[in-house]
């Protein structure tokens, strides 16, 4: 049972085969022609940058989304899932980054949630707990039992519960989405052991990660996705880290970006952080100067969004020195001339049922500012097309919505403007307009900090790049750094740091 099952000699049964999968959301193609297969006992890693389409592909397999084209075969049979329950019945278990567990219920309750064994119409707790105990035993997990409350378990233990859940439904395919993201170093080893046990049971494991070390530790094969397309599938033993990185990022900088700031354009410091930190960040040293666009790179969970929220005052810094002011809340941030274009504009940036005008004026109204820039001029400045003020924002395209968010902050004439994924979900035309506008603002003396998961954008726009990892600054890179250099710093598993 303990043998690793890696590179099994016998020709194993193909459990899952996805062929030519394509998917569009609202006319935007996010996946095209993806092929992916896995056989019994294989760990197949799926890698790619943020936004490459990994999650969408997995959600299609999970029955959350339906593919527009392509075929899913499980155990040789063509299947289509209209609902996640159907995928589950077909033997697909997904372990998301955010666990689907009820914290106030016991481990056994969670494992059998929605399919509790019954006896004479009542839930048969004894059977449930016995079955859970048996599965825990098989996984060699003795640190907790079926009756423990999920909320009392560590993250790693909760992950085990998810795996037990998968085993209890006789899953043949287990998909793990960034399973190590929330784990401590020593817990990762335990996870490896669990995954090898799954392999030895003949389960196909699809392992999504951007951490290449894990990929090489675990995977038999690796499939690389990029911008929703299938770059290739390779044997893990036959590829080097460098080659894999190249497959992940090696695209041409085909997009147009406005010219960078000249030497003389960069002015006095607008904001200086010295050893700043809070619950999620530590030892941040950073200077933002007038006229400069500073890019922030980092993997999900590296603290990128926390950084801009801390500077803005939404999740303030609790230590360190910030000049001229360390805002303790949003209003102090705004008073200091700081604006934040949030990552999720629908949830955090806009009041969707209100008009363009109401959205554009939200900040000045909130702070009771006397200066009321003419909304019409603002909308022209952000190139809203058509520049109608009375349209409810929910009816606008992603690009136009983002322009409205920008207009909202321009009313402040901000000294510092923070952008979290400024062009996510924005079409190409609006993207260029937003890029131009960002550069225009910088040229006008605004200090800009921009987070982007899209490396070409980050590199194309930034005058310099700061890379975050685990809530700290992992390194600084000059303008025009290569994608490989950024990725190396962001994903460095000890080696490149």
């Amino acid at each position: 049972m303990e043998d690793t099952g890696r590179k099994q000699p016998s020709a194993p049964e193909v459990i899952i085969r996805m062929t030519g999968i394509g998917k569009s959301f609202l006319g935007v193609r996010v996946l095209r022609g993806i092929d992916l297969s896995a056989h019994a006992g294989e760990v197949h890693a799926v890698v790619g940058e943020n936004g490459a389409g990994k999650s969408t592909l997995m959600k299609i397999l999970a029955g959350v989304h339906q593919p527009d084209e392509g075929v899913i075969e499980i155990g040789g049979e063509t299947r289509s899932f209209a609902h996640p329950v159907q995928a589950q019945r077909a033997g697909v278990a997904i372990i998301y980054q955010e666990f689907n567990l009820l914290p106030e219920r016991s481990v056994a309750d969670n494992v059998f949630l929605g399919r509790e064994p019954t006896r004479r119409g009542l839930v048969d707790r004894a059977a449930m707990e016995a079955a859970t105990a048996r599965l825990l035993d098989e996984l060699d997990e003795h640190s907790f039992g079926p009756r423990d409350m999920v909320k009392d378990l560590s993250v790693a233990q909760q992950q085990v519960v998810e795996i037990v859940k998968a085993l209890s439904v006789d899953a043949r395919i287990v998909v793990m989405d960034e399973p190590t993201a929330a784990l401590a170093e020593h817990e990762v080893e335990l996870l490896y052991r669990l995954i090898r046990r799954l392999q030895s049971r003949g389960i196909a494991v699809l392992y999504i990660s951007h951490r290449l070390r894990e990929v090489f530790d675990l995977a038999d094969r690796v499939t690389v996705l990029k911008d929703g397309t299938h770059v290739g599938t390779v044997q893990a033993s036959e590829v080097t880290t460098a080659a894999l990185v190249k497959m992940m990022v090696g695209r041409e900088l085909d997009a147009y970006f406005p010219p960078r700031a000249g030497e003389q354009a960069v002015g006095e410091p607008r904001l200086t952080l010295r050893n700043a930190g809070n619950g999620k960040l530590d030892g941040i040293d950073l200077e933002l100067r007038a006229g400069e666009i500073v890019g922030v790179a980092g993997l999900q969970g590296s603290g990128r969004s926390s950084l801009v929220k801390a500077i803005f005052g939404a999740e303030p810094f609790t230590r360190g020195e910030v000049t001229p002011v360390r805002p303790g809340n949003v209003r102090e941030g705004i008073a200091a001339g700081i604006g934040l274009v949030t990552e999720d504009r629908k949830a955090e940036g806009l009041v969707l049922n209100q008009s363009v005008r109401d959205n554009a004026l939200l900040v000045v109204r909130a702070v009771g500012s006397r200066s009321r820039a003419a909304v019409a001029d603002l909308l022209e400045r952000v190139r809203l097309t058509p520049p109608r003020q009375d349209t409810e924002v929910k009816y606008l395209s992603g690009g136009n919505q983002q322009k409205v968010v920008l207009a909202k902050w321009l009313t402040l004439a901000p000294k510092v403007l923070l952008f979290d994924e400024p062009t996510r979900g924005v079409d190409v035309g609006a993207k260029a307009a937003i890029h131009d506008l960002m550069r225009e603002l910088a040229d006008g003396g605004t200090a800009i900090l921009m987070i982007s998961s899209e490396l070409p954008e980050l590199i194309g726009m930034s005058d310099r790049i700061v890379v975050l990892r685990d809530g700290r600054i992992a390194g600084h890179l000059p303008a025009g750094a290569t994608e490989e250099a950024v990725m190396a710093l962001a994903a460095a598993d000890g080696a490149a740091a």
Binding site: A314, V330, R331, I334, L340, T342, A347, E348, G349, L350, V351, L352, N353, Q354, D358, L361, L362, V363, R365, A366, V367, G368, K408
Partner: protein
């Protein structure tokens, strides 16, 4: 404002139907009497609108109206010279109850449904305790004139409506709607979310005070004067197309909702349908109005056929 069109069509239809059944309605005196009757509910609906559009509820206004009337009668006790001081006190009580509702909801994070349900029970209990079930004292002539003289009632109604409209056009109103629409985005834009909501509750409390002043003169002193007014006010607001949960709807439409509800009661009355049915009718209306809010087209189609 587009959402508000159906309610005006329904209202117009009802008014025509009333006029057909009772031509007196078209004479100035008849119409004035109608306005006088509508005024308290319309004012309550205006106040309730501010709370609902911010994403909350105020269930305490009915009991608050009773408190206002009972307190007024007891303190004035027929003494004309007490009229103005007591009026001032009533306004303060209304604002204070709103302030407490608002602070409990925002600072203690008690859902407003529970906060104001609690306030409703506390206020009813207080009235009962204080009066023993039978209010004592009497209102002064100077007090009763507001509710009794149609001109006064209409004047006060006009002032309330105008103030409400102006408030909703001002920064306060626009940010309040933003809070109801997307609290998080509003907060991240620098809106003082809690302050906006507390003010909305205070406006609702104030509207209950004004409605109480009118009802004291109009309906007289009793421990039942405000009974179920909170539900009528909420029904009116919902009928006006204002979305429960906040962020959508117009204050004028909410007031039109109050007119529609009162017109419907009047019409039922004219056709000899028992007042006892009012509750059932109201129940049907509130459910239908919320359902229609989900499917807008049927609401539009329904309205002309009602005529």
């Amino acid at each position: 404002m587009k959402r508000a069109i159906p309610i005006f069509l329904v209202l117009a239809g009802l008014l025509v139907a009333i006029a057909a059944a009772n031509p007196f309605f078209l004479e100035p005196a008849g119409f004035l009497a109608f306005l006088k009757r509508v005024a308290p509910l319309a004012i309550l609906a205006a106040g309730q609108y501010f709370v609902i559009v911010s994403g909350e509820f105020d269930l305490s206004v009915g009991s608050l109206v009773t408190v206002e009337v009972v307190v007024a009668a007891r303190l004035i006790d027929g003494d004309e010279s007490m009229t103005w001081p007591v009026l001032a006190l009533l306004i303060v009580i209304g604002l204070l109850v709103g302030l407490v509702n608002g602070l409990v909801t925002t600072k203690l994070r008690v859902p407003s449904f529970i906060t104001t349900l609690g306030a409703m029970l506390i206020l009813s209990g207080a009235v009962f305790l204080w009066t023993g079930g039978a209010p004592r004292g009497a209102l002064s002539q100077g007090f009763r004139v507001f509710g009794r003289e149609g001109v006064w009632a209409v004047l006060i109604l006009l002032v309330v409506v105008t103030t409400a409209v102006l408030l909703m056009r001002a920064d306060f109103g626009r940010t309040l709607v933003a809070v109801g629409d997307n609290e998080k985005a509003a907060r991240l834009s620098g809106v003082r979310v809690d302050r906006a909501r507390v003010l909305a509750f205070m406006i609702s409390g104030l509207s209950a005070a004004i409605a109480g002043i009118l009802l004291g003169g109009f309906a007289g002193v009793s421990a039942q004067v405000g009974q179920s007014l909170e539900f009528q006010a909420i029904t009116a607001v919902v009928l006006g197309g204002v979305v429960l949960g906040g962020g959508r709807g117009h204050v004028v439409a909410a007031i039109a909702g109050a007119f529609t509800l009162e017109a419907l009661f009047t019409l039922l009355n004219l056709h000899g349908i028992s007042g006892a049915l009012e509750y059932a009718v109201q129940g049907v209306i509130i459910i239908a109005a919320v359902a229609a809010g989900g499917l807008r087209l049927p609401a539009l189609r329904l309205s002309p056929s009602k005529v």
